[in-house]
């Protein structure tokens, strides 16, 4: 790029391919960590200079102290366990439902005609509007919370799955059929692996939504969990605990992203770096 191409007497040039330079892992990690570190530094500077008063948002040091305090008296781990169980079970139900529905509508014409329009209608209903209805139906117990998370996570998974399944190369399916592969085996061995990129995108969206739905579910009459911790902190104006809870939610989202990235690497070993496929 920088050096001018050497021209030989015959007017020919030496081709210079632009190769990507190999970079060390630690360098990549440093670059990745740069953004969060800068944010943290800004927060700390703003608190230290008095720009950010403690009644608006606690300083990083106070938040760290709150984490230690909550961890020592067991409140944080209890809340985390409760919340993660809720969102985990809800997410599992939602993923299973979305996957099943998505495969049905994506792979069979009958399923598409029968289910898709109603599912697309249901999908547009904001799940938050279901909160009062769920409270009437199921009361204010765990079922209502888990089902709310399940409903919220079903639809992103459904949309991604059905589009991924629909995008399977029809020539490949035809070839498999000509070799006598059954429909179920085709779904398991060809369609689903082919749809994995979409499935993982759906998983990513569903995981994010499960945290959002968790917050919504825990805002209503919870007696345990991160949301409960937050509403307690709100009544005592403990901005340090509020900040801890918000950070926990953020870290949950980050963890979900890391999980999906790992899954991408583990579940799709056939993907070459060039993304070529035959």
């Amino acid at each position: 790029m920088s050096a001018p191409p050497k021209t030989t007497a015959s007017g020919l040039v030496t081709p210079r391919p632009q190769l990507r330079k190999a970079r060390s892992r630690s360098y990549a990690l440093t670059v990745r960590a740069f953004g969060p570190v800068v944010l943290l530094a800004l927060w700390w500077v703003a608190s230290a200079t008095g720009l950010l008063t403690p009644d608006v948002l606690a300083s990083p040091a106070e938040v760290l102290r709150a984490v230690v305090e909550l961890w020592d008296n067991g409140q944080l781990s209890d809340a985390l366990t409760t919340s993660l169980t809720r969102s985990g079970i809800g997410l599992l139900i939602g993923l299973a439902a979305g996957l099943t529905l998505g495969i049905t509508t994506g792979f069979t014409r009958l399923g598409d005609e029968l289910l898709d329009s109603s599912l697309q209608t249901l999908r547009t209903i904001p799940f938050l509007s279901l909160v009062p209805l769920f409270m009437v139906w199921f009361g204010i117990n765990e079922t209502a919370k888990i089902l709310l998370i399940a409903v919220a996570t079903t639809f992103p998974m459904y949309v991604s799955t059905s589009s991924g399944v629909r995008n399977t190369d029809p020539k490949l399916i035809e070839a498999m059929r000509s070799f006598g592969m059954g429909r179920l085996a085709t779904v398991r061995e060809v369609v689903l692996p082919g749809a994995l990129p979409s499935l993982l995108a759906g998983l990513r969206l569903s995981m994010t939504l499960s945290v959002i739905a968790l917050i919504a579910a825990e805002e209503i009459n919870a007696t345990a969990g991160i949301g409960y911790l937050m509403s307690q902190a709100q009544s005592y104006a403990r901005t340090d605990i509020l900040a801890v809870c918000i950070l926990v939610y953020g870290l949950l989202g980050l963890a979900a992203d890391i999980v999906v990235r790992l899954l991408e690497r583990v579940l799709m070993p056939w993907r070459t770096p060039q993304g070529a496929s035959r």
Binding site: K171, L172, E174, A175, M176, R177, S178, F179, G180, M181, G182, A185, E189, V190, P193, G194, L196, M268, P269, W270, R271, T272, A276, S277, R278
Partner: protein, 257 residues
């Protein structure tokens, strides 16, 4: 279809019709292929040769007529059509019971790829991927092997090697073969019989009498070649000069190498 004498047909087609819109692509077509016979079907682009193959392979329906094919039949498509998420050996034994992987390895060895059994399809070259597709078709011990322009997407050198490989493997396994192609030289090199499809029916159907190994310089080869090109509506050059053809995947014109 019960006895296994050489005279029993592997394929029997009578009065076959296939209509797209108001155009009859196949019109009262008749075709017989004996067991172990290698038939090459020539035709210009859009003449319906692939449609005929797809009907024989049960991938398309017919609009009329009688079609009889053996139960065991496999297809090699123009593209390899390998499942990207399965390793090479699993692609060969796709839809077969797990106990058949030894057969799969043997089939891979026959196409010279036993060392690639554990590779991903994306890492193979075009010729290698097509050889895997050939192994996948042969491991099922087909009585009818349908080849749908299997060499069209390959470069000229790989194509020649693949033609030799297919010819040799067909001599060993003796399936009935229908090779759909638009390459006259390929047809004459490999086939026991060549047929030309035009206007919905076979306007030529003759046994190839050129001695094997078939050399394009042989006068009988050249004469047959010229005649077939004439049937295809292409004026043959006076001297058969082997001109290099660019390896364009999915080329549509009548190949003349």
């Amino acid at each position: 279809m019960t006895t296994d004498t050489p005279t029993t047909p592997a394929v029997r087609v009578r009065d076959l019709r296939r209509v797209f819109g108001d155009r009859a692509v196949l019109d009262d077509l008749e075709l017989d292929i004996a067991r172990g016979e290698f038939v090459a079907l020539l035709g210009a682009s859009g003449s319906g040769k692939t449609t005929l193959l797809r009907i024989l392979g049960a991938l398309d329906g017919a609009d009329g007529g009688e079609v009889l094919v053996p139960e065991a039949r496999t297809i090699v498509f123009q593209e390899p059509r390998l499942v990207p998420s399965k390793k090479v050996l699993a692609n060969v034994t796709v839809a077969l019971p797990r106990s058949r992987s030894a057969h799969g390895l043997r089939a891979l060895a026959e196409v010279g790829l036993e060392r690639h059994a554990d590779a991903w399809p994306a890492t193979l070259s075009g010729g290698e991927a097509q050889r895997v597709a050939l192994a996948r078709a042969l491991v099922r011990e087909p009585e009818l092997l349908l080849l749908d322009e299997p060499f069209a997407a390959l470069d000229a050198l790989t194509r020649l090697k693949m033609q030799d490989l297919v010819g040799e493997l067909c001599r060993i396994h003796r399936p009935a073969v229908l090779l759909v192609t638009h390459d006259v030289d390929e047809a004459v090199r490999l086939a026991d019989r060549v047929a030309v499809l035009r206007d919905g029916r076979l306007i030529t159907d003759e046994t190839v009498t050129v001695d094997r190994p078939r050399d394009p310089g042989n006068p009988a080869f050249a004469a047959l070649r010229r005649r077939l090109l004439g049937d295809l509506g292409v004026a043959a050059p006076p001297q058969p000069v082997p001109a290099p053809v660019e390896p364009t995947p999915g080329r549509t014109e009548v190949g003349v190498i």
